[in-house]
Amino acid sequence: MTKASAAEANVVPTPPTALARLARRKMALVGIALIAIAFGGAVFAPWLTPYTPNDQMFDGLTLEGAPMGPSGTFVLGTDLLGRDLLTRILYGARTSLLIGVVANGIALIIGTVFGVTAGYFRGWIGGILMRFTDLMMAFPALLLAITLAAIFQPSLWIVVMVIATVNWVQTARVLYTETTSLAEREFIAAERTLGASNLRILFRHILPHLVPTIIVWGTLGISTTVLLEATLSYLGIGVQPPTPSWGNIIFENQTYFQAAPWLVFFPGGAILILALAFNLVGDALRDVLDPTQRGSE
């Protein structure tokens, strides 16, 4: 089905077909599996490990106060305060996933509102909104995030808002382009002459067509927000200890990375895998839901 014919038929590509195509792609399956593992680890953490993440154990450090490497007692070793690393990584999954999904969700909502409003209404509203988007694009994202996070007392919500603020621009632009081309279609004009209100047109005719794009960018966006949260925590201005986050585990222990590299590479690997998983799934979704866009096919 081409996009044009789908629009004419006023029907969204039916889910079962898309899902089936998704299922045929190995990369997507790998990605989904990894996400499932991450979620599983986060949810079932208390059952997967006998320790608690904030428990500073006397036996967790050597006699001179150094962290211990992977062993039978501590599967992934301990950190500089004698806490079990595997436990902190599992509980850290909760933080990374929560922030990743929520921050991205907020960014998605902001981006959708901006992009669709600007694309549909055009005129000076659209102009202002898009100029503002251009303005936000000119900000070096990480620098802005770092400045904001360092300035305001970091709490979980500040981190979420900062990440959302920096991430909505791409979505807005893409949705703007799509909305403008959609809004020009004859059937929209037809609906208008029939007396449909703007809101009705937006919700019944435009948004449904945007759903695939929103899903794709939503998924890809989680990868970006996970990385951004990790970077902020790595710099010490993201999630604050003792709440474990993969980024702040590295932050707390990086001065020891020569002597205890597992403290950097296990959480680092976790970040990589989660971001990779969302990228794989997002990319596959992009191919599946919109074959005209170039992907890795």
Binding site: N54, Q56, L81, Q153, Q240, P241, F251, T255, F257, Q258
Partner: protein, 543 residues
Amino acid sequence: MKNWLISTAFALAVAMPAVAQDYQPDPNAKPGGGIVVTYKDDVATLDPAIGYDWQNWSMIKSLFDGLMDYVPGTTELRPGLASSYEISGDGTVFTFHLRPGVKFHNGREMTAEDVKYSFDRVTNPTTQSPGAGFFGSILGYDAMADGSATALEGVKVIDPMTVEVTLSRPDATFLHVMALNFASIVPKEAVDAAGADFGKLPVGTGAFKLAEWTIGQRLVFAKNTDYWRPGVPYLDQVTFEVGQEPIVALLRLQNGEVDVPGDGIPPAKFREVMGDPAQAARVVVGGQLQTGYVTMNVKMAPFDKLEVRRAVNMAINKDRIVQIINGRAVPANQPLPPSMPGYTKDYKGYPYDPAGAKALLAEAGLGDGFETELFVMNTDPNPRIAQAIQQDLAGIGVKASIKSLAQANVIAAGGEPDQAPMIWSGGMAWIADFPDPSNFYGPILGCAGAVQGGWNWSWYCNADLDAQATAADSITDPAMVGERMQKWSDVYMAVMRDAPWVPIFNEQRYTMKSKRMGGADALYVDPVSIPVNYDYVFVTDVQ
């Protein structure tokens, strides 16, 4: 004129005190050679009126001199640019006789006019000096501070080699203030020529002069061949390389490329270095005039109750905290560090006794514990230390949530009376500006510091103790030093009885040097010239 005659008469009554045993030059020292010191951060400024971080403090000391100085490696005062001085009987008038023949790096001879210019400059608001407040006891300071005067009334040029300073009140710490970087003597023409860039183009009377500064990369100090102290400095040059990570610096030291890693031994390498006898032999350990402590805000419940504060003192396992930082500190039981005069040696402090702490809490009606917040600066190792403290507090039923923030935010919270119930001072406070017990009281324990924007984060204000402190600082007679120190000891013991703080540890300094560096150990852990006293160290591979 009349004042001068009277003060001279009094001055005869109080002759210059016997100078402490001055520095004996090292017989092995040979002049020549250069060393390389590394730092991670770029140097902020070399303007003595402005520079106030631990990195540029010793650099400024090598480029500039003040009227007073310290015997290298010790906390004993000795004459600097003032070869002698007299103090009036009531301790308010100091007459300094300047050393003749001292030349600035630009060749001009220093005179009393330069002294007056320098003091006027540092107290003038347009200079924006963070150290202006130290000169608060000089007559006319207030007029300078509010802008109604452009010269200090209390600083008078008697003749080109004599300066008379009059204080508005007797101040036993004044000579220490004269040895501070802020009291360095600078030449007016160089400051005028450089304007706001004097910090990049410093001109002083010190043992070294600035030869080169490539921003972000390197500074080079070259020997001042006209230096007024004979025989020093030994080194021909000191090169500071900036932008070097501590681990890189250490590796380069091991390769022989670097002589002193300025940021110290990185924690990750500490065990490796100290475990190797060859390397450990080149590490000098010394105390610092530093104390790390937890403040409890006496204006915020439940820390307004004495029993609660004492209970917290008994709940913290200081040995474990020291272990977390690789043992690079000694547990502290009082505000003053051990190497500070006035330290109370036999004081035992509060014992580590969680059971006793819980009992005290029950006495105060808080047997079920309470919730509170612990503020901490967010650079390593402070969050880790805070988490250890948090665990100890949990052991007595106190649930402390950690607020790990940027330094400026913690300081701002501490300066408000109702924001920070507990603060861990690590990374921010307190290291002494000069080796005198009064420096540990005023800003951080005295009523003057318990104001908005102040550094007395426990908001502890005991008018009685303030009066005792002022009385102690009025004892200016050098023969009565013992009595003064006893008074200060009493003050701090009273503070510990009231327990607004939990003193945790005193950091030790570990300076590692290369094989070719020579000089007494004390020079490498100089309490004033941190980390190294560049004027007096030498290298052993000179021909």
